[in-house]
Symmetry: C2
């Protein structure tokens, strides 16, 4: 029932031929016990899923011939960027795994007044990328979400005009509640670019919230309970993709 997905780097695809790197070859052969003649799914992280037959198999190098290409397999109609206040260690790891699962396409760790300091430094990004890659395969997606270096809050706002829709999770402001139903008001039929902004564990400063509202972010309350930051990030992402991502 469960289809295994493998990762093929875009540069390792030529004509109708896939050549897997050592690590993925080992995974194919030693863990998943694939053999010459078996048909597998390989995703390139850029929206292409190759249905391919293995033609050469050894433990360090597997070659496959492409039978069919499926475009944007397992992807919704939303290009969703999740900008999330930096969290401590494992909570950010977890956020990345779950954000990939629910369909986020880009993750921006954001430095705000209350964000955890020092986390998600440059040398943590390779680890997060590995988590994202595993989650992409696990969740049957074909797009590998981009994890970018930490951005300052103000810088994020400056670049937020690029999005069709922007939401900010704001649990404390009942008077600003946008019910989930109201989110669909402007739903277009085509793929749209959406930015979700979620504060760190300590929330946003009122001045940060005001700036975001001024830039056209819609505040969204996520229900009667106080969610932890990473839970809010996943819940908002899931809600947005449920509403706007239908094919």
């Amino acid at each position: 029932m469960h289809q295994d997905y493998f990762y093929i780097r875009p540069e390792d695809v030529s004509e109708n031929r896939l050549e897997f790197r050592t690590e993925e070859s080992r995974h194919l052969i030693l863990v998943c016990r694939k053999r010459t003649g078996d048909v597998v799914f390989a995703v390139d992280g850029r929206g292409n899923a190759y249905e391919a037959r293995l033609v050469k198999t050894n433990r360090t190098r597997v070659v496959a011939e492409v039978l069919r290409i499926h475009e944007r397999l397992g992807e919704s109609n939303v290009e969703l960027t999740l900008a999330q206040g930096v969290l401590k260690g494992s909570r950010f790891d977890w956020l990345v795994e779950k954000a990939v699962e629910v369909g986020v396409t880009k993750i921006i760790p954001v430095r705000t007044q209350h964000s955890a300091s020092g986390a998600v430094s440059g040398n943590r990004i390779p680890r997060l990328e590995r988590i994202a890659l595993a989650a992409m395969k696990q969740s049957g997606r074909s797009v590998l979400p981009d994890i970018v270096p930490v951005q300052a809050f103000d810088r994020l706002l400056e670049t937020s005009a690029d999005y069709d829709l922007k939401f900010i999770a704001e649990p404390g402001r009942e008077q600003l509640q946008v019910s989930p139903e109201a989110l669909s008001d402007t739903a277009p039929c085509r793929r749209i670019r959406i930015l979700c902004l979620v504060g760190p564990e300590g929330g946003f400063e009122p001045s940060e919230l005001e700036k975001a509202l001024h830039q056209g972010f819609h505040p969204v309350s996520l229900g009667p309970t106080r969610l932890r930051s990473e839970t809010a990030g996943i819940a908002l992402s899931f809600l947005v993709i449920s509403r706007y991502g239908g094919k």
Copy 2:
């Protein structure tokens, strides 16, 4: 901005007086640095939140006098039971934390054909209860979700007639997709009892799914990606509370 919540056992409330146990007294005094005269929020896990002034404080025993009682603080209009296929160790721990955050009121680990064996045995429940208690306070809820011992799948179905609505997460069955919008068709205005059933990592057997559908469960697809079991449990719970829990 962030209000701390403390736990008071229902049996330690008498008239207008709260008497905290040692552990919570230490937390009040040593961690949160509360002093005589301070006003705190204490929740009893049964839907009562007490706004109370501390009248006696030492490190092992804090007594408070009740100023106001808030009923069902931080609770939605849904009584949501999450029945989840048993998962391995830390994934079930995580599930409990997040399920409490999003507002689940009861968690039933379910033994299915593909569930992890041995996990959530009787002696793991106290640990899960501690996680649930911390998450209740963290998320500003006043109801402590009940975590019950593992139930067999068939036994769960036998008792499922007690619920007003029943959903089963079923990612593989596109033809059975119920769009999130369709979930609201039968939404009543009052608190309702909803059961969400989510398979373990390996999913349900077709025969299990058939039995559930026969018992009136509505199958729900959770979008284009394959979610891990615990992510599906949280996503479905969040979706259901977003739809039905509005006050």
